[in-house]
């Protein structure tokens, strides 16, 4: 499985995701944002970080970079695309995913382990998880408050395009377990073809027992076959 990690100036989880991918036996390449062609890839990852300092709006400026047109082309022809944290923000800014990520409700950067529930385990990204399985995954963001218009929200629900929801340890989804104010506790969404996933939590931080736990492993292993 060939993966490409796009590196923007200001990306800072690029090494972390590369380590996780390699650990999972992906053949990974780093792609600098000024490049005009993508290497052959089955999976494109847009990593977390603060591309362009997150100035203006998080993800806005990376969304205008050269390489992004290539990512869009690849995505439209069915290539798998995973955007984590800043990567999710970039995907919404390019329009590959609908909606937007607003400032966290408490206006503060939030870094902590939260519980999320796998709301759809029928996709290429999630098939190794059980339905409604609760994962403990680290979040670290300023703008993770997912927002979209009512029609799109309806579509997300009807077509099972919500990937993960914030919840408690038992899987209960409620306001108390919504760290950032996201609509319906949404932590990650798919596009309608389900080849693009954007998520705020960092699965690449959860692949090593010494550092955290292994709840992120199955996302990568799902992709492998």
């Amino acid at each position: 499985m060939n993966s490409s990690v796009i590196v923007f100036p200001g990306s800072n989880c690029d090494r972390d995701i590369a380590v996780a991918l390699e650990k999972m036996q992906f053949k990974n390449r780093m792609v600098w944002h000024k490049e005009t062609a993508l290497p052959k890839s089955d999976l494109i990852v847009i990593p977390g970080g603060f591309s362009y300092g997150d100035y203006l709006r998080s993800g806005a400026i990376a969304g205008k970079s050269l390489i992004i047109t290539e990512v869009i082309k690849a995505a439209n022809s069915g290539c798998l695309v995973l955007g984590i944290c800043n990567g999710f923000q970039i995907l919404t800014e390019t329009g590959l995913l609908e909606g937007a990520l607003l400032r966290n409700k408490n206006l503060k950067f939030i870094n902590k382990d939260v519980n999320i529930k796998v709301t759809n385990n029928q996709t290429k990204f999630s098939k190794k998880y059980k339905k409604d399985q609760v994962l403990k995954i680290n979040i670290a963001h300023n703008e993770g408050n997912y927002f979209t218009n009512p029609e799109h929200l309806k579509k997300l629900n009807e077509e099972s395009l919500i990937a993960f929801k914030y919840c408690d340890t038992k899987g209960k989804v409620d306001e108390e377990n919504n760290p950032n104010g996201s609509l319906e506790n949404i932590a990650g969404v798919y596009n309608s073809k389900k080849n693009i996933l954007g998520m705020m939590p960092h699965p690449e931080r959860m692949v090593d027992k010494m550092i955290s736990n292994k709840d992120g492993i199955n996302l990568f292993s799902s992709l492998l076959n």
Partner: protein, 79 residues
Amino acid sequence: MKFSVIVTLKKDVLDPQGKVVENTLRNIGMEDLKSVRQGKYFEIEINIGDPKKAEKKVDDMCKKLLANLVIEDYKVCKI
């Protein structure tokens, strides 16, 4: 030619930042306050002589970069 651009969150989008500013202002004794909304401001200088063309260009900038029309509105003014 100089323009000001104001980008604000759409009405139906929650503005927690404005809310916090509002509360803080109340807490420091500004009781007559009714509401606060917060946005971004840009001062843009552009080398185009024709005001129409210049404004069109700035409008373009807003659409392409400065505002995210999913959540934001914008206003351009010549200054």
